[in-house]
Amino acid sequence: AQSVTQPDIHITVSEGASLELRCNYSYGATPYLFWYVQSPGQGLQLLLKYFSGDTLVQGIKGFEAEFKRSQSSFNLRKPSVHWSDAAEYFCASYSGAGSYQLTFGKGTKLSVIP
């Protein structure tokens, strides 16, 4: 079955430092990949998506992600973290073009030290 793994449950970074959140997927073919962010008590907001084409995708709030087929990874990055980026981040994937069900990782909670 399709799975999405976020190896880091909790990451703490200093404000202004760079950030990389890891995501690995298990689907064999090219998946549809997404990153979402959830602030406390809120719903999930779409940060960016990858379907095909350029493996480096840009999203909102200054985030980007790189698809690496050889590593089955889709890591999220930001060059300089702001205190308002503190939230929980979810990686998600469809298992195929005809699938309705998104498979979510368990999430990575990001804390930012002022």
Partner: protein, 113 residues
């Protein structure tokens, strides 16, 4: 922008009550979804609907039912609420084309006493 609106942010109900959670989307999306989110368990799909009056079970449908009488509205029903249904409930919608992202509402935090 897509707007998915859940009728209540916070809801407190008693065990045995019939509970309705309402969700409305304004972008003419074909697909709608209900998830619950619990610490350590992530997001789990309860039900989804790919068309009016159509529904499919997700991973954890037990104790829940859904209704989709109109395209824009998808309701989650707890037939007889129990304390283990205390959770954050999230509604989402998407276009019915391959691999479209799902757009989420702000969630309903439901407490069953």
């Amino acid at each position: 922008d897509v707007k998915v609106t859940q009728s209540s942010r916070y809801l407190v109900k008693r065990t045995g009550e019939k509970v309705f959670l309402e969700c409305v989307q304004d972008m003419d999306h074909e697909n709608m979804f209900w998830y619950r989110q619990d610490p350590g368990l992530g997001l789990r799909l309860i039900y989804f609907s790919y068309d009016v009056k159509m529904k499919e079970k997700g991973d954890i449908p037990e104790g829940y039912s859904v209704s989709r009488e109109k395209k824009e509205r998808f309701s989650l029903i707890l037939e007889s609420a129990s304390t283990n249904q205390t959770s954050m409930y999230l509604c989402a919608s998407s276009l019915d084309r391959g691999g479209q992202p799902q757009h989420f509402g702000d969630g309903t935090r439901l407490s069953i006493l």
